[in-house]
Symmetry: D2
Subunit: 356 residues, 4 copies
């Protein structure tokens, strides 16, 4: 349960309803000042209870740094973030031990770990485990920014409603940062309002919706990544698919590229301001597994939250009989808004690791 980069590792630990969750970040250089305000700001974007569209569970999620920092500056030792679990109502999940929730980890986890599995609140499979990853990601984002590399994401689509995409060629740092400063991280607020309305509809119906997050990075040098298994796409996809509920990852034109002809998909090279760039950016900044200096563009598809209020068909494991399941806990009708800083964090960890 570890992000294993070339230099950087992030060992995550914890279960949703255990004592604490956290992460040990190993491989950071000494001398990095951690801006706790910015770190807390990123974590708040992921935290539940921020708006009408999220779960009512409230976790202060105040990260405690128990190692690796001295006077707020990294000292070379591994940096450990600890987040105590407080507001966990395990009772909500009692019946789930016998009746696995459809499209959740419950059933395969039961087979994998046996009765010792701590499945309360999803246990180790809970989206809650992404909180320490955001703490690690926040540090990575700061260190990237110090290197003039910027990462930002927005909701590209919810319930089929598209946001305006990032400009693949002319994207500027301020456009990249803009969605993250809003309570609902989109480029077009009109699209955002429609999405919020679709989420509210789903909630009213006891249902849920999915969506897509688009993430971009600016300022990367040419040549990060490499051939075959060293390709940057492999590293990024591996980290992004670690986020619960992700069903697809694509770069540049992605699946649309499969329907294009080469003459329409290729990005012509040209010289601009003494640098070699491409006039279009269907590649999403990646050629041959390597950065080409253009904005890096990745899309991440999230399925609709599997926890819905509607009755569902499942089975009783003890009786091996059909059973109707009513999930009574508090759940997001859509995880996509809260997933935006998680996507940013994952991309930032991979890119920082490549740059170290």
């Amino acid at each position: 349960m570890r992000f294993q980069g070339k230099k950087l590792t992030v060992q995550v630990f914890g279960q949703s309803h255990g004592e604490a969750i956290g992460a040990v970040i190993d491989g950071l250089p000494a001398g990095v000042r951690v801006d706790q305000e910015r770190l807390n700001a990123l974590m708040r974007r992921r935290a539940p209870g921020q708006g009408a569209h999220t779960t009512a569970r409230r976790e202060p999620d105040i990260p405690e740094f128990v190692s690796g920092l001295a006077d707020g500056i990294s000292c070379g030792a591994p940096v450990t973030v600890l987040i105590r679990n407080r507001d966990a109502r395990s009772g909500d999940y009692a019946s789930l031990r016998d009746i696995p929730r459809p499209s959740h980890a419950d059933w395969p986890a039961f087979v994998k770990y046996g009765p010792a599995h701590d499945g309360r609140g999803g246990g180790v499979f809970s989206g809650r485990l992404t909180a320490p990853l955001c703490a690690a990601g926040a540090i990575a984002l700061q260190m990237l920014a110090d290197r003039q590399v910027f990462v930002g994401a927005h909701i590209a689509e919810i319930a089929g409603i598209p946001d305006d995409p990032f400009d693949p060629v002319g994207l500027k740092p301020e456009d990249l940062a803009a969605p993250g400063q809003k309570s609902f991280p989109v480029c077009s607020d009109g699209a955002g309002a429609e999405m919020l309305s679709a989420i509210e509809d789903a909630r009213r119906d006891g249902d849920s919706v999915g969506g897509v997050v688009e993430c971009a990075s600016l300022g990367l040098p040419v040549g990060l990544g490499g051939p075959l298994f060293e390709g940057l796409e492999s590293a990024l996809a591996s980290a992004l698919f670690a986020i619960p509920a992700v069903r697809g990852v694509s770069f540049g034109k992605g699946f649309e590229a499969a329907r294009m002809r080469g003459s329409a998909h290729n990005d012509p090279l040209l010289v601009a301001d003494g640098r070699i760039v491409t006039s279009t950016n269907r590649a999403g900044g990646l050629q041959g597994g390597m950065t080409n200096g253009m904005p890096l563009l990745v899309n991440v598809a999230f399925k609709p939250t599997p926890s819905i209020a509607l009755p569902q068909r499942s089975v009783s494991l003890s009786r091996m009989q059909p059973a109707e399941l009513i999930i009574s806990g508090r759940h997001d009708p859509c995880v996509v808004p809260r997933a935006v800083p998680v996507v940013e964090s994952m991309v930032a960890l991979v890119l920082l690791d490549q740059l170290l």
Copy 2:
């Protein structure tokens, strides 16, 4: 340039126009008989020069096993496959050193490696490097079949023309194997004929087309994979994005899931023949990063071949001036048919590694 599994590693080596390419497979158990006929059959499916739709370059691609086998049986030592390069016309690529091909690795590789880079034929970024991976994959496929685990793939789409998809619930081993036994690996031969015609159109226009490969696996136990970075999606995506020209990877309903509601996407659980299964399979056999016993389903999007005969706009690196590029080598107008066994190989390597 190494597939790094939990137990299994495949170290690939070689450049397109160097002395030899190959792979060292470390971590195979002793006592596995390698069926050379089946191995050669898989490699022929990937080899160029098989039909009108592929490049005219002909490589016998006869793999020589220089270590790890004694009397055709693995002895516990690493298995090394060596493939000599024979039919390489380096002259075709001479001008490319100065004028990078659009949407190829040329430009970032030049920056990354400097003038020492052996870019002939794409060098280490050539699709040719997937040949030894198919040799490794063929061994993995045999070992999986011994464990009653089956992997197969077909062309799901070329130039927007869809093949019939695999049956996500009722897929049988013989249906899985069927496309691979055809010269053009599709489920529906009618769709295949249309695709071939679209490829031929592109060739005639000096252009190229992309497509999608769908791969499935049957017979997997429940609980392979794990939480966060141990998820099977991460391992599979990392390996699949290592294939040149891949732009997207998705599982189950993939990007379509982002537009569904939870009630429509969740897979109800039920008991059938004393086993717990799901009545639908939108998850593609993966819940919480783990197999759930249903057919595993993954889609892989390939961009159109960037090497096209049409003139393209590029730059002269020496003069830092615009330059028109005419690529005169022999190239596939569509790599998708030859990519099918490569996708199978990658999936097989990941699954075998999880099972060892």
Copy 3:
């Protein structure tokens, strides 16, 4: 700062005088009951303040498990041990920032990490970091014992005074366990008394002494390890040299083997009780990098504690001038007795990892 096994990883974190130290143990199977009494017992053997021969610093070192256990049983999630630092007198070390202690990490750490290094109490280089490794080791020892594999160690030598060695051929589990049950872990109490006296002499002189720990393991299956870099010696030595102050590691006859002839060093094979064994065990249970079923025997040499009360010659980094150094903190005149459970823990982690 991570023990990286094939299946098991132990990510250590913390600085001697930071908030907390600890470890995240990833890769343990679910369902293992952790015997906290035995764990605490092992940690007490390592803890300071146990006798006249150790430092006066007292750390309760009560490990808190903040993840991975539910009702004292491993649930499959990473197991995290947290130990708060309490009794740290940082003032003792204030002058050390400018005047590095001879034969300590101070000087190279200053160069490596720069002024951000948290060198209080040795920081991340402190022997205190072995406490969480003992917690991990205690779990490993329990799991090995469940598999009928036993690990034990004793002080083989202090200040040149030898203990009786373990019987290389006929060693029994009770003999292996005996030293660990004593307050001073030796086989021969007479030798132990002499060692204690030598330690006391050194303390009185403001000096320190070194020694050797011998560790053995019984019950290992034949064939653990492998060729070249997979050899068990490599894995064991890598873990053992991670213990601060270790200067040498040897197996079986070790450096003495270099002076023997083959006819005197080779271990003849014979059949006993239907099993193949060797009549002598100069190999220390390891042939060709693999276990051969005989008792595994390893010796670990520790240098004398570099922190001594005598005045020492050093330099002032700020003035680049000679400086006399008086170390006023509390220090062990001999770390060897407390190192015994650390050696056991390291060996246990490596062996468990091989067996998982």
Copy 4:
């Protein structure tokens, strides 16, 4: 069977009597010119058949580079060295399948791999597998020399006869290189003559002798390595114990340090020529797991060759009965002289990896 550094990996392959042995070196930068003469010179020092003290088996051991070099310069792709096996007389080893050689890998390898094991000539456990490691080491030595880092070794002891040690404080590059330029790599030719005579005595008696190799490195920067498992001792010992027949590894004063007092073992710091150095070097250049800028000193103990001409007691695996064994193949009465360049290669690979 892979040297796994932080950046550099060397995947070794082959069996003693298979088609070929070799190595794939991944992670070398592009643009390194490989000096084939120096590489061949190093390999000749390891090759058998060089003098009266070595086995009569003659292998030309001409390394063929089949990938990674273009015009003798590394191109960024993995560098593959292939060495064909030629002069293997498998017949010599036929009886060994049933009667394992004492203190060889035969018996545990039989258990580990079963009947499929290719044990001819020691198979994958043969010292012959160190030949490709010397090819890799030769490249590492060249790259280190380009960085003004030098590695050299000599026979410190054979059959109890000591060579003059390297000067731990004042060692100069020319003294370091001197032994490697002799046919018998010692500092003192008088000691060398005695050693050769002891080897010849052992041969005449059908017996064998062991010894110690001392290796040093000059020019290393301060601060390589790190805390706990990142210590340079761990990395070096792990690589050195991978060499067949190694029984002990120690740094600086090694096991002797265990008998010293702190006041006698500590290395006083002083300022010389504006640099901080130590006036003695009992630490062997390593404090706290890190280089301190002084000469790095490591000792490696080799057991006597287990293959001796004298009759030995073993067992017949098929009959589970005692059996006398006469080994009739050609064997070194002492592997230590040929091990010297192997030790240099291992140390060079580890150091280069740390420096990359």
